[in-house]
Point group: C2
Amino acid sequence: MNAATPNPIHALRVNGQRLWETLMELATIGATPKGGVCRLALTDLDRLGRDFFVRQAKAAGCTIRIDSIGNIFARRAGRDTARPVVMTGSHIDTQPTGGKFDGNYGVMAGLEVFKTLNDAGIVTQAPLEVVVWTNEEGSRFVPVMMGSGTFIGEFGIDSVLTQKDRDGISVGEALNAIGYAGTDVVSTEAIAAYFEAHIEQGPVLEARETTIGVVTGALGQRWFDVVVTGSEAHAGPTPMGLRKDALLAASHVIQCVNQLALDHAPNARGTVGMLDVYPNSRNVIPGTVKFSVDLRADNDEILTAMVASLHERLVTIAKNGSVSIEMTQVVYFPPQAFAAPLVSAVRSSAIEMGLSEMDVVSGAGHDAVYMARVAPTAMIFVPCKDGISHNEIEDARPDHLEAGCNVLLHAMLKQANGAD
Amino acid sequence: MNAATPNPIHALRVNGQRLWETLMELATIGATPKGGVCRLALTDLDRLGRDFFVRQAKAAGCTIRIDSIGNIFARRAGRDTARPVVMTGSHIDTQPTGGKFDGNYGVMAGLEVFKTLNDAGIVTQAPLEVVVWTNEEGSRFVPVMMGSGTFIGEFGIDSVLTQKDRDGISVGEALNAIGYAGTDVVSTEAIAAYFEAHIEQGPVLEARETTIGVVTGALGQRWFDVVVTGSEAHAGPTPMGLRKDALLAASHVIQCVNQLALDHAPNARGTVGMLDVYPNSRNVIPGTVKFSVDLRADNDEILTAMVASLHERLVTIAKNGSVSIEMTQVVYFPPQAFAAPLVSAVRSSAIEMGLSEMDVVSGAGHDAVYMARVAPTAMIFVPCKDGISHNEIEDARPDHLEAGCNVLLHAMLKQANGAD
C-alpha cells in the first residue's frame, strides 16, 4: 500500500470507556477500604481475578492455555498459523497495599486490543496472545517475577514450586488450591514480539506532561550490603580528633552513592534506602552503621564503573574516618536493552496518533525484562499520579490509559501484520 | 613556714594498695559475670554499697548525715569548727552494665584520704567531708545527677521523690525501702571547696601518656531532635533530579555537625548518635529521617554560635535537598568553669609530686558540675583504659588511681589548712 491510499486500520481506536470499566471491575476483587487492591499471588482473590480474565478472554474468542507455574496464555488466532505469535501481558497479583493499575493495566489493555479487533472484524496475520504472569510482585512468595522468570528458564520449575509463604504453604500447593496448576507446555520459541503496557511508577512523564513513555530498556541493578565499623565512645569526653565515628563515615558514602549517579546522568540511580545505627544512643558516637546501596544504570560498563569508583572511594573514606568498611553484593540484574524495531513501533504509533511521547528507561524490574532475554520486547509507559505506585493511592488518568492502549494496539498490529 | 623548712606533710602519701582493695571489695556488690558492676540507684545492692561506705566512714571516725534525697555526708572534724567544710565525693550507683570505677573511685578516694590522715595523726583546720550523691547515673530514675541537683536546688525535693521507675516505684518509696530516706538538713552554705576525683571516661590522658587531668571546667551541652521530611519514592523509576531524599539531606547535616565542632577545636564536640530512617527499605528513597544532634563547647558564646551556624546551614541543606528540616532543643546545660584557686591547687599538687599533668575539660556531666554553682569546685581525672566507661570492661590502673588520690589528698589539705 502507498501513502496516497489511506488505510482504514490507521483510524482504529480502542474503547477507553470499556477499558476503564474493565479495570474498575477487576479492582473490586480484593478492593481495600483506602481505594487500593490487595490481591496476593495464588490466593482465592487471585483465583477470582484469574477467573475474571479467563471469562473475558473466552468471551473474546480466545483459547486458553495454563502452564505448570500458572501463567495464563489467551490466544487470538491469526490468518497464518505458521507465523510466530505477537504477545502482550503483565500480571494481576498486587502488593499487600497495592493499587488498581500496576500490572492489571497491561493485562486489561491486552484484552481491550482483542475486543477492539473483534468489533472491527479484523483478523491479523500472526496470532496474538495476552499472558497473565504468575506472582510478579513477590510479596507472598519469592523470587519476584516468578512466572516470567520460570517461563524463560531463569528459575527451575521444581525449585519455584517448593517455595513457601510465611504460613508454610508452597507455590505448588497454592496453585493446586486455586485450580491454576496447568499442564500446557508453552514454548519460548517462535515469539515474534512481546509488548507490555504499564504505569510508569515514577514521576518523569507527569513532570514532562508527556502521555507516552517509549521504553528503550531497563536499568541494570547492583545491590549491596555495607557495614562501617568504627568505635563506640562517649560523645562528651571524646575529642573530635580521637573519634572513629561510623555514622560520619557512612554520611560520606551516602553522598558518594548520590554523586556517582549524578555523574552518569540521566539514567543512573544511586540510593541508600535502609540504614541502621548501633548502639543508636544520643550521647554515644556510633560504633557500627549498616546500610544498603542500590546502584542502577542503563549500561553494564557504566554500572561496573560506578561500583569500581565506589570501592575506590570507600578506601579513602575508611582511611580518613579511621573506620573499616565492608561492601557485599546481594543482587545483580544486568541492564536490558529492548528490541529496536519494537521500540520504533511504539514510538511511531504514538507519533502517528499525535500523542506526546518521549524515550524513557524502566528503573524498576518488569516481566518484560525477563521476556527480553528470549524474544524481541518493548514496553509502553503511561503517567501515574505523582509517580506513586505500590500504594493504595496509586492513580492514573483514563485518557492516559486509553492512549497507552491505542499505542499497544498499533504496535501489535505492525508486528502481527508485517506492515501496518 | 618557709621553703628552707621542709614540711613533713608534703611527703604524705595515700595507701594505693588499700585504695585498690577497697574499690575491689565495693565492686563485689552487684558484680556482673563480665567483670563489671550493676548497682542501680536505690536498689538493695545500692543499699549494700551505701552500708559498706557508712561502715568504712564510721570506722574512720566520721559522723554521718543523710538528707531527704538520700545523699550521705561523712564528716571528719577539723580543729576550727567555725571554718567552712572542704568536701569531696561522687556516686556509687552504676549503669546497668557499668564498671568498677565510674563514681566509686571518687567516693573511695575520699575515704582513703581520711584513712591516710588518720594513720598520720593529722587533724586539718577545716572539717572535711566525703559525700555520696544519690542517683547520678539516672538509669533507674530520671533526672540524672538527682542527688547533687536536689542538694543545690536545681530540682525540688517533692518533684524528685515522686519520680517513678519502670515498675512504678517512686524515688521516695525506694529511699524508704532501703532505709536511706534521711532527715538531716545539710546546707549549701559554708562549703569552702568541693573536689571530685573521677576516671576520665575519654581517651585523652591515655593518648597523651599523662597521669593527671587538671579539669578546668565542664562543657556546655545543647541537645536537639531533628526531623528531615522529604518524599518516599521508588529507587528505580525516580530520577536523581526529581528526588526529595531525606537521608541524603541528613548526611549533609551530620557532616555539618562534625565540622562545627572542628571549627571550634579543641574543646567543642558535635555528635549525631541516634538516627532512624523511614520507611527503611532497600529500594525506597527515604521519606523521613529523625536524628539527634549533641553540641558541646566550653564557652556559651561558642555554643550559641554553633547552634546559629547549624540553623543557617539547615536552611541551605533543606533548600538544596528539596526537603524540610525541623530542629527542636531538648537539653541545655550551660558550660561550667571550675574555681581557679582549686584548679591551681590540683595542678600544683600534681606538679609537686612529679606527676605528669595536663589541663582538660570534662565533656560529660558530673555532680561537680552542679556543685560548682554553689561552691568553689574542681575535678581530678585519671586515665581509664581505652577511654571506655559505662561498660563492664571499664578499667583503670592502680598506680593512676593512687596518683589521683594523692592529688586529691594534697589539694584538700591546701584548702583545709589555708596553706600547705
